[in-house]
């Protein structure tokens, strides 16, 4: 087991290296000079001299050869120094420290809400196969999978404004300082963000449960006289959980990607919104750092999910 974990960690290195190369190269391939954008302003109305442009490029380090820029960035990261935001001129580690917990909170809440709704929905759909409850839950699940996250976000805002004449309070409230306001701000983006995941998990839960219901050990459990609830929860659901866990693992990556849109719609000042702004401003250093953090998280979560397999199914061994 330890060897397996070690090997997986070793694989992190080439994967992350590839990500660094890709994000670095892609940002340089896309037109747009951060120094020009800073001088011209968002609307491109500002005017400046060539000397000012040269000075700013020198300050930002974008006048150096690409290889030097890349190596200097990598060297900085190896020392735990993400550098300074080209647009905001503030330490990136400070921004990530402030924004990452917000995004993680949102993603975690979205996943929690998805599970809380999807699992019962999927189980109900399976145990009541081909009944109205099944059809209803399948319609919800299909709708959830079919609708893009940003559309759900817009619908939620529309619903809140039109029906309740209310929107989550503006300005961000920290979870620990003002949990109630934080909940008001986070629950709706989490619902919008997690709706797709809920739908997918519900569908997988249903099909997985239906498969398990046909297994011999379920029949045996019933014939032993176990209560049906115990059969469903303890025997069927636990065995049906592996595929659910598999998709949940890679859905976390999708969830974090989804925060990019949802955080913008719901004014959540997390990493996704920062990423959007950074792309618009061609804030290379910030984009690179955020992408690296996301890549690392996705890799780590996939490893955690793999390890959870063994815990859930004792037959699985990684030796």
């Amino acid at each position: 087991m330890n060897t397996y974990v070690l090997k997986r960690f070793m694989l992190f290195v080439p994967t992350l290296l590839l990500v660094t190369l890709m994000v670095f190269a892609l940002m340089r391939l896309v037109p747009g000079d951060p120094a020009e954008l800073l001088l011209m302003g968002f609307e491109g109305d500002g005017q400046y001299s060539q000397q000012q442009l040269d000075e700013l490029r020198a300050k930002l380090g974008t006048d150096r050869p690409l290889a030097i820029q890349y190596l200097s960035w990598i060297w900085g990261m190896l020392r735990g120094d993400f550098g300074v935001s080209m647009y905001f001129d503030t330490p990136i580690s400070e921004d990530l420290g402030a924004k990452l917990p917000i995004t993680l909170e949102l993603a975690a809440l979205a996943l929690l809400l998805a599970f809380v709704v999807a699992m019962p929905l999927g189980v109900l759909s399976a145990v009541r196969q081909d009944t109205i409850a099944d059809y209803a839950s399948r319609i919800i699940a299909i709708a959830g999978v079919a609708m893009p996250t940003f559309w759900i976000g817009i619908l939620v805002v529309y619903f809140l404004v039109t029906w309740f004449d209310w929107l989550p309070p503006l300005g961000y409230a920290d979870l620990w300082n003002d949990p109630w306001k934080n909940l008001q701000q986070m629950v709706f983006p989490a619902v919008a963000l997690g709706f797709y995941n809920m739908a997918l998990i519900a569908r997988v839960t249903r099909s997985s449960m239906l498969e398990v219901f046909r297994e011999d050990y379920i029949r045996t459990a019933r014939s032993k006289g176990l209560r049906e609830g115990a059969v469903i929860i303890r025997h069927a659901l636990k065995n049906a959980f592996l595929p659910i866990l598999t998709i949940s693992g890679w859905q976390v990556g999708r969830l974090i990607a989804g925060t990019v849109v949802i955080e913008t719609i719901f004014l959540v000042p997390g990493m996704g919104r920062l990423l959007v702004d950074s792309i618009l401003h061609r804030d290379y250093t910030m984009i690179q750092s955020i992408v690296m953090v996301i890549a690392f998280m996705v890799l780590a979560l996939n490893l955690v999910v793999d390890l959870l397999y063994a815990w859930l199914d004792p037959r699985i061994r990684y030796e």
Binding site: V30, P31, G32, E36, L37, L38, M40, G41, F42, E43, G44, D45, G46, Q47, Y48, S49, Q52, F88, D89, T90, D95, V116, V117, P120, L121, V123, L124, V127, R128, A133, V157, Y158, L160, V161, F164, D165, W166, L167, P168, P169, L170, G171, Y172, L183, Q184, V187, F188, R227, E228, I232, T264, I265, F266, L267, P269, L274, D277, I279, L280, R282
Partner: protein, 591 residues
């Protein structure tokens, strides 16, 4: 047994789901009650009009106002923090003369020498701000400004003539980043200002310059303390901002909000009314509309939103009881930017054909809510632009007997293209930055050129940063583009679009003929407005009849200011760059 288990399970699922719904409702309903939106509506957004003083400012007082505000005076009500909406969060360099996008948020921290009167309905009424009065000497180039004796910086030090001299020179410091304020460089050069005494300053312009005062009165030209500017303080930091204005900077939450609080020792007696403002960054259109509807924001920080004219009009209609929408004409335009350095667009016949084939009425109807001013080269219905009725008879603007494009214009456009050797089915790519409504505008233009010219027109949406780079490299054919103008006077408009050094000239490569440049120089120095208007008329005639230059205006867009009816004493400004201090508004009922 199975059924019992299922029923129990179903029951639990229902309970769980009910709990989620209840939580949702609890969060929504248990929150702070929506802002009172049913404020008693008056016929006018402005209650009792205070009597305007000759200077536009309250009488100067020897002693700064007391820190504790009274609750009301005979003019307005004190107190309250006004939540405002911004759609783009600027970068974090807050020097008062650097970068243009910060001006809207910094305006309340600083004063200008002059300002546009925020308490009258005349949008061109210029009054003193730090200057109590001013006069132009008979030579036509020397201005003498008399400063308020009691004007003071936030640290209590008096505002002196030396501060003004220092600020004027800073505004045109070409060594530093001055993307906005260098616009007055043709009028004012470093060293042209001097202090006559502590409270009198003389400023000379390089030539007679009728647009100097209107520009100086805009919010881009703020005065700053010489001691502060020369100190070791990092003047680019928000929290270090120190002016003489009605507000002081407080918190800045990156990507979330900016806050200002009232200056308790503001030297203008009795001002400001509100205790402060908080400016929320809301980029998403739907959320912005929702925030206005629910009263979470009470006004836009400045008359710029990311909503189209049509969306703004719909918002006004749906929220007529709670919101006022002020549509400010003629300070921005939307049109086609032409790269005149490449074929066939370097041929004036092609540009004229393109001008003739634009269906401006359609643009105004679809994007301008049917009310946006006509897309003449100079803003219509202004002292230097022609009236819409007259313009509607001109080729390129006139309509056919049954509406729609005039057949004669299409015929002439096709003839010009044939003469220039541009074939039917000519491929044209319209670049459109994914900002404002450029992509939608480009789609309509493409459709019109397909219909009227038989061109194979395609639209290329492109992100804003890439678009600006391509403009700079002149790597495009034509583009849907707009621009906002500092003030609605001729120099900023023509200078930016048609004259060498102007941004659009850098992007389009158009070189105006010498006579056009001579006209520009002549009108720019002509103090007699009638004579100036005559020269400007010749310039517009040239654009309409000879060479459209690099720009085909679709329509003059309204810039929109959304103001909740709670906000009192708000008057529509002349442009997006004026009346941004918010020192004279108040809330009723309280914010």
């Amino acid at each position: 047994m199975l059924n019992r288990a299922l029923n129990r399970l179903t029951g639990r699922i229902l309970v769980a789901m009910a709990m989620i719904i209840a939580l949702t409702a609890l969060v929504a309903c248990g929150a702070t009650a929506p802002t009172e939106s049913g404020a008693p509506a008056s016929d006018s957004p402005v209650p009792a009009q205070p009597a305007a003083s000759t200077s536009g400012d309250p009488a100067p007082t020897a002693v700064p106002a007391a820190a504790e505000s009274p609750q009301t005076d005979d003019r307005g009500i004190y107190g309250g923090i006004v939540p405002m909406h911004d759609y783009a969060f600027p970068n974090l360099i807050w020097h008062p003369h650097e970068f243009s996008n910060q001006t809207k948020n910094m305006s309340g921290i600083y004063n200008g020498l002059l300002e546009y009167d925020a308490e009258t309905d005349d949008p061109y009424d210029i009054v003193g701000d730090l200057a109590e009065s001013w006069e132009l000497q008979p030579d036509g180039v020397t201005y003498v400004f008399h400063l308020h004796q009691n004007a003071a910086w936030h640290n209590g030090n008096p505002v002196t003539a030396e501060d003004v001299v220092y600020s004027m020179d800073s505004l045109v410091n070409s060594e530093a980043n001055r993307p906005q304020t260098l616009i007055i460089a043709p009028y004012y050069s470093q060293g042209n200002a001097r202090a006559i005494d502590d409270h009198t300053v003389e400023i000379k312009t390089n030539n007679p310059a009728p647009d100097f005062v209107p520009m100086l009165a805009s919010d881009a030209f703020k005065m700053m303390s010489k001691a502060w500017g020369e100190s070791d303080v990092d003047t680019s930091k928000w929290e270090n901002g120190m002016g003489s204005g009605p507000f002081m900077p407080t918190t800045l939450e990156k990507d979330v909000s900016l806050s200002l609080e009232r200056n308790p020792n503001y030297w203008k007696e009795g001002l400001p009314y509100i205790d402060g403002s908080i400016h929320y960054y809301i980029a998403d259109k739907g959320t912005a509309i929702g925030s206005y509807r629910t009263g979470q924001v009470l006004m836009t920080t400045w008359p710029v939103t990311n909503l189209s004219n049509t969306e703004i009009l719909e918002l006004q209609e749906s929220e007529a009881d709670t919101l006022d929408v002020y549509l400010i004409p003629n300070t921005s335009l939307l049109g086609t930017l032409i790269n005149t350095t490449i074929e066939p667009f370097n041929d004036v016949r092609v540009r004229r054909a393109m001008h003739l084939a634009v269906d401006r009425a359609e643009f105004r109807e679809i994007f301008g809510g049917g009310i946006a001013p006509m897309g003449t080269p100079f803003p219509p219905e202004t002292w230097f632009g022609r009236g819409e009725e007259e313009a509607s008879q001109i080729p390129g603007f006139r309509l056919g007997p049954e509406g729609g494009k005039h057949a004669g214009d299409i015929e002439e456009a096709r003839r010009l293209l044939a003469e220039a050797g541009v074939p039917e089915g000519f491929k044209v790519n319209i670049m459109a930055r994914t900002a404002v409504e450029y992509v939608d505008l480009a789609q309509l233009l493409a459709d019109q050129y397909r219909r009227y010219l038989g061109w194979d027109a395609t639209v290329q949406p492109i992100d804003s940063a890439t678009g600006i780079t391509r403009y700079k490299e002149q790597d495009y054919q034509i583009a849907a583009q707009g621009t906002a103008l500092l003030v609605g006077e001729p120099d900023p408009i023509i200078g930016k679009i048609f004259m060498p050094g102007g941004l659009w000239i850098q992007w389009s490569g158009w070189d105006a003929p010498q006579k056009f440049k001579d006209w520009f120089a002549a009108q720019s120095q002509e103090l007699d407005r009638t004579k100036r208007a005559e020269i400007l008329r010749e310039m517009e005639d040239f654009i309409l009849n000879e060479d459209p230059g690099p720009l085909l205006v679709y329509y003059w867009s309204f810039r929109d200011q959304v103001v909740n009816k709670k906000i009192q004493n708000y008057h529509m400004p002349a442009s997006i760059w004026v009346q941004l201090k918010h020192e004279r508004i108040w809330c009723d009922p309280e914010c």
